[in-house]
């Protein structure tokens, strides 16, 4: 892997870690606002959301968002769920 590639990966991992930490520490708040919806997270903000996966992907397309540069999560209340 080249030095530039390594730097890019490190930046992507930094952003992914921050977004993941934010997601899991704010999950209960997100359940209240986006229950059973797909959400796209970038820089600790929700930048797109939709209940239907096809429509969610269309919304990302319309906003010219590349899925590989964001964190996508399906929000649901998982308390009491066995999976």
């Amino acid at each position: 892997m080249s030095i530039n590639m390594n730097a890019t990966i490190e930046q992507e991992l930094d952003q992914l870690e921050k977004d993941s930490e934010w997601l899991h520490s704010h999950y209960n708040d997100l359940v209240g606002r986006f229950s059973e919806e797909f959400v796209a997270i970038k820089n600790q903000h929700i930048i797109a959301n939709h209940r239907n996966l096809d429509n969610f992907k269309k919304e990302l397309e319309n906003k010219n968002v590349n899925p590989s540069g964001i964190l996508i999560e399906y929000i649901r209340d998982k308390r009491g769920s066995i999976y």
């Binding site: 490190e10 992507e12 992914l16 997601l23 999950y27 899925p67 649901r76 998982k78 066995i82």
Partner: protein
């Protein structure tokens, strides 16, 4: 080398952020995902919903001939060839080549819809680490060889 997993404040389970990289054409791309750290799962796999939402066209992938029993039914999947899991560690990016990464199908073998579930890091990968609990976070610890 330490990799931090994050405790979800809803289900209190631990998730690890991972970049999935594939050299498989035409995908040849990277995807960001959170994997549930699941010592009860025999194998690591990407859920169909994580695959689809990241524009992974499973129809372009080879089928996985194995059949797995899950809590939601019997399921087959697809294989994402030439895959690498990239973790953020306290040292630097840690690349773990896994070869063929399984992606679950959206329906069970008897054609019921499979539920929307998280992708899972199973014991096949977890067993290569020691698990530590510290400061409310779980950390996967890998001894340098």
């Amino acid at each position: 080398m330490l990799i931090t997993c994050y405790k979800n404040n809803n289900d209190r389970r631990y998730y690890v952020p991972v970049i999935v990289s594939t050299a498989h054409r035409p995908l040849l791309s990277r995807f960001r995902m959170n994997f549930l750290v699941d010592t009860g799962s025999p194998m690591t796999h990407v859920s169909w919903n994580d695959g689809t939402s990241n524009n992974i066209d499973t129809l372009s992938l080879p089928r996985d001939n194995r059949i797995f029993n899950s809590v939601a039914g019997r399921i087959r999947g697809y294989l994402l060839p030439q895959s690498t899991l990239i973790f953020k560690s306290n040292a630097s990016a840690f690349n773990m080549p896994v070869g063929e990464l399984s992606i679950s199908d959206y329906q069970t073998t008897n054609r019921n819809l499979y539920p929307i579930l998280p992708s899972v890091i199973g014991i096949d990968i977890i067993s290569q680490f020691d698990l530590l609990f510290e400061d409310g976070n779980e950390r996967m610890y890998k001894r340098l060889q």
